[in-house]
């Protein structure tokens, strides 16, 4: 039976009619055409689908759309400000933190949750935090570098 779910996505109120078994990532990608949130696995392990729900990073492939009813959802599309990249996005660009880019939206959304809790993480803490994000291209080194640079920029450093 279709159900109505409503939520705030990137600051915009949305109401969608979905099947009860619809995943949050399906609602984002298929109903709202927010295709920056990726699906890289079907075992909840890769983190390509990470978005924020009420300020916490979650795997959008492992949450029903109905579970996010009434929530504030932020996706990668919600970060840039009038075309100006978010400092964390800019840091990935500057530091060659991506190759194919498939994992990048999830990496960035996950990183922002870390920085919200721990504004000045060490490289080791970043690596630990990325337990749930897999990259098949870069070997992580530049991703860690990007996140440290992004965190520094967000603290107002250079």
């Amino acid at each position: 039976m279709p159900v109505n779910v409503s939520m705030n996505v990137n600051g915009r109120a949305v109401v969608e009619e979905v099947e009860e078994r619809t995943l949050l990532v399906e609602l984002l990608r298929e109903n709202l055409r927010l295709t920056g949130t990726h699906v890289g696995c079907d075992t909840s392990q890769c983190g390509a689908c990470v978005v924020h729900v009420d300020g916490r990073s979650v795997k959008a492939c492992t949450m029903l759309a109905t579970q996010a009813h009434g929530a504030d959802v932020t996706t990668i599309e919600g970060l840039a400000d009038n075309g100006k990249l978010h400092p964390m996005q800019e840091a990935f660009r500057e530091n060659h933190g991506l190759q194919c880019g498939f994992c990048t939206p999830g990496m960035v959304m996950s990183a922002l949750d870390l920085v919200a809790r721990n504004p000045d993480p060490t490289g080791g803490e970043v690596r630990e935090w990325l337990e749930g994000n897999l990259c098949r291209c870069t070997g992580y080194h530049n991703i860690v570098k990007s996140i440290l640079a992004g965190a520094s920029a967000m603290r107002g450093g250079s």
């Binding site: 916490r56 109905t66 009813h69 337990e131």
Partner: protein, 266 residues
């Protein structure tokens, strides 16, 4: 995923009623085990009863010398709870080592112990700390809660409400994680409680179990030295591509010694 009917009850009573009325209902907590299972079509419940909107089911609170964790409390919230960190740091640290940050942001203690995965972390805390599991019907001793591989003492339709952990004098959890999933290949909780030492082992067998010989040795002398040569028999332990039964038996000794050393160092 097969189709199901979705319910979002606002009270525990309404949840129990929805569960009783469903042909083949199942409760949904953090979804970190259930949703992957549904996606793989390994389960096909007729109804999902989401506990997410029931007030009072989540949060960590102190109750005298004990810590009470609501069934819907997410792993991340146990890890960061000031009460858990001060009264039972081993419990907060265990929660902080589950899976990855996104799993910890959704997964709950109720879902973890109801699922009773043989490699899950929380069962070691429930048994190792001598906890009790409170449901909408009764209180179950932690020692009696896990009854087999993915099996618990829960009856049909019974819902976990909270878990009560008495604060030990000192305790620590040491885990040898699967490098991909972080589930325990072997995890050992050692607790020096007011009434004896408890050693609970997860990951090694088909369910969490206590290592009696180590408990006895540590009762006289709470130091890693007291269990220097201790291990558990490998008969019947889990064997898979990650580790043989003998390797797991060996790891039980190693993890137990690490946990004792950490607990003794405070």
């Amino acid at each position: 995923m097969y189709e199901f009917n979705y319910h979002r009850p606002g009270t525990l009573e309404a949840a129990a009623a929805a569960l009783a009325a469903a042909e083949d209902g199942q409760v949904l907590a953090g979804g970190q085990t259930l949703i992957p299972t549904l996606k793989q079509r390994l389960a096909s419940p007729s109804d999902l009863i989401d506990l997410g909107s029931i007030a009072g089911l989540d949060g960590v609170r102190r109750e005298g010398d004990a810590i009470v964790v609501g069934a819907m409390t997410r792993h991340a919230d146990v890890a960061s709870s000031p009460d858990a960190r001060s009264a039972i740091p081993a419990l907060a640290a265990l929660a902080d080592g589950i899976g990855d940050p996104q799993v910890r942001n959704c997964g709950t203690i109720g879902g973890s112990i109801a699922n009773a995965d043989p490699a899950a972390d929380y069962p070691a805390a429930v048994v190792g700390l001598g906890a009790e599991v409170r449901t909408d019907r009764r209180t179950i001793a932690g020692d009696d809660f896990f009854t087999g591989l993915f099996e618990t003492a829960l009856e049909d339709g019974e819902i976990i409400v909270s878990v009560r952990f008495p604060a030990p004098r000192r305790a620590a959890y040491a885990k040898f994680p699967n490098p991909a999933s972080r589930y325990a290949i072997v995890g050992v909780m050692v607790a020096d409680t007011g009434s004896g030492v408890r050693v609970a082992v997860t990951g090694a067998g088909d369910q969490v179990f206590r290592a009696g010989a180590m408990e006895a040795a540590l009762g006289g002398n709470f130091s890693a030295d007291a269990i220097r040569d201790a291990s558990v028999p490998s008969d019947g332990l889990n064997e898979d591509l990650h580790a043989s039964a003998e390797y797991r038996a060996h790891l039980v000794g190693v993890m137990a010694r690490r946990a004792v050393a950490a607990a003794a160092a405070g």
